[in-house]
């Protein structure tokens, strides 16, 4: 892209210089130019001073030029006729002075009568570029002289370099910004991944000893005869269950807080709910509770959501239902679809939620009085976390409860927009 800038600008520069030379050439009277022969005696020709004055005037419009001169062809060699400079100055060409460095390009301007640019060329005074244009006798169509505008190359170089540099700089800045952005994004991704791995490891590290303690406490409990040691074992077992529930809640909460952004993915809710039911079945079996998905469910149900978090929601709701439903009863999961939402309901036949406490159910660390009394372990974070996640998904979680019949929790999630 910058290379193109160089070419365009160089061409533009050369074209402009060509125009400038042509403008000067057009400003000169070809008859007057014809009077000059390219010898020292030209200085005595009246036209000489007129042309010189004109050239000096024109030089004022070409301040970057070293000189503007007129050359004529004599015996197939190029000779200076008149120029804009003062005798004694650096670039002065005396009339009749042979331009030894005149190249074939220069000579061709006499023949072809087309303006052109020559250079950059080197000489004793440095590097320069020439715009050359013929002064044409309109009657004969022949060139009677060639105007040259010599511009210092450094000016030329400066212009094209500046023009090349700008797009180059822009590209560079853009690339640097892009690289920084990408690097940052990858670093953030890596950090997120590390954090989630750390979370998994932390979860594992906490769950393992707690499970171990629970198993041991449970074994002890079963093998102790009635007496003070058995009560101690019972106390230990109950404590461990509470510890387990609390740890799970804190792990959930930490996971949510550490990764506040949702990671949406197309998820089959039917598969997800099935997995929850399967995991809960064994625990349910301990109290002969049956978990069932009724016939309202489709074979599959795709929804864009954060699958890990939605799983957490239903894990919390279903495990609550399993915990608080009466022994031997059924926890029923049903599905309903309306124009905007998918609604999933979990119904238990349990102890219900007292009317005066229903307003606080979704508060963090809140457990209803009858839940606490039931002896079941729990920290009260489950529904708070569920609501946080459902809210994040722009859904709704609600319940109806009758204290001696049971409770139905309904989670509704907005359907994907087609």
């Amino acid at each position: 892209m910058a290379y193109l800038g160089v070419i365009t600008t160089r061409d533009q520069y050369r074209a402009a210089l060509t125009d400038r030379a042509a403008t000067v050439a057009a400003a000169l009277d070809s008859d007057k130019v014809s009077e000059l022969k390219g010898s020292a005696s030209d200085a005595k020709v009246p036209a000489y001073h007129e042309l010189q004055t004109k050239l000096r005037l024109l030089k004022q419009n070409n301040t970057d030029a070293r000189s503007i001169y007129l050359a004529v062809l004599k015996n197939d060699q190029v000779y200076s006729a008149v120029d804009s400079e003062v005798p004694g100055s650096a670039y002065y060409l005396a009339p009749g002075e042979q331009l030894m460095g005149a190249s074939d390009v220069f000579k061709s301007v006499f023949q072809g009568t087309l303006p052109t640019v020559e250079g950059p060329l080197n000489d004793s005074s440095g590097q320069w570029v020439s715009g050359l244009a013929p002064v044409v006798d309109l009657r004969t169509g022949q060139a009677v002289g060639v105007v040259g505008i010599d511009v210092d190359s450094s000016e030329y170089n400066r212009t094209i370099i500046a023009a090349a540099i700008v797009p180059l700089l822009v590209t560079l800045v853009f690339l640097v910004v892009l690289v920084i952005y990408e690097w940052n994004r990858l670093r953030q991704q890596r950090e997120l991944r590390m954090r989630s791995e750390l979370m998994s490891i932390a979860s594992h590290e906490l769950r393992t000893p707690i499970t171990g303690m629970r198993w041991a406490a449970e074994s002890l409990l079963h093998t102790q005869p009635e007496g003070p040691t058995k009560s101690m074992a019972q106390a230990m077992y109950d404590s461990v269950l509470n510890l387990q529930a609390g740890t799970e809640d804190i792990l959930q909460l930490t996971r949510l807080q550490k990764n506040p952004k949702m990671q949406l993915a197309p998820t089959d809710l039917v598969v997800l709910i099935n997995e929850i039911c399967n995991t809960q079945r064994i625990v349910a079996g301990q109290r002969r509770v049956i978990i069932k998905m009724d016939q309202s469910w489709p074979t599959s149900l795709l929804l864009s959501c954060d699958p890990a978090r939605i799983k957490q929601v239903f894990h919390n709701v279903v495990s609550n239902a399993v915990k608080y439903t009466r022994e031997g009863t059924t926890v029923l999961l049903s599905y309903k679809r309306d124009a905007k939402n998918h609604s999933i309901s979990v119904t238990d036949q349990g102890i219900g939620i007292p009317k005066d406490e229903q307003g606080r159910v979704f508060d963090g660390f809140y457990r209803a009085s009858n839940a606490k009394a039931s002896g079941e372990s729990g920290t009260g974070l489950g529904l708070y976390l569920a609501k946080t996640i459902v809210d994040q998904h722009h859904g709704k979680i609600s319940f109806v409860s009758d204290q001696n019949k049971g409770t139905t929790f309904t989670v509704s999630l907005p359907a994907d927009k087609k």
């Binding site: 594992h204 171990g212 198993w215 079963h222």
Partner: protein
């Protein structure tokens, strides 16, 4: 209460305290129990001693549960029919699904299950054979 069975059960579990408890309850139930602390040792013991059932953890060093199960199932005679019960501690359905696809026939969440339920499941799987 516990029937006398002369069947061998292999327990593969990297956490020593838990392994001890699992071995203990299964021995109490009358089984001969062999144990391994990682998937590689578990595979070696499985192929050499061909137990009647395997109870294994999923998340283990050296070789994890999924790899071990896949390797056991490669054996077309004994290896393809032995009941393998997978235990997991982490709420990672992805890992569980992989274990079941590799050939595990049951999975249990350690944090939700009681020890005697594990024994009951082993009995069920062995009785049903």
């Amino acid at each position: 209460m516990d029937e006398q069975t002369n069947q061998t059960v292999l327990v593969v579990e990297d956490e020593p305290a838990m392994r001890k408890m699992l071995v203990g309850v299964l021995q109490q139930a009358g089984y001969t129990v062999i144990e391994a602390g990682d998937g590689k040792t578990g595979l070696q013991m499985a192929t050499s001693q061909q137990p009647a059932a395997i109870v294994t953890d999923n998340f283990m060093p050296v070789m994890n549960g999924v790899e071990m199960i896949a390797a056991i199932r490669k054996d077309t005679s004994w290896g393809s029919t032995v009941p393998i019960i997978v235990m997991t501690n982490v709420n990672d359905m992805d890992a569980v699904n992989k274990a079941l696809q590799a050939g595990g026939i049951d999975y249990l969440m350690k944090s939700d299950i009681q020890l005697d339920q594990i024994v009951a499941l082993v009995k069920q799987r062995l009785g049903a054979k």
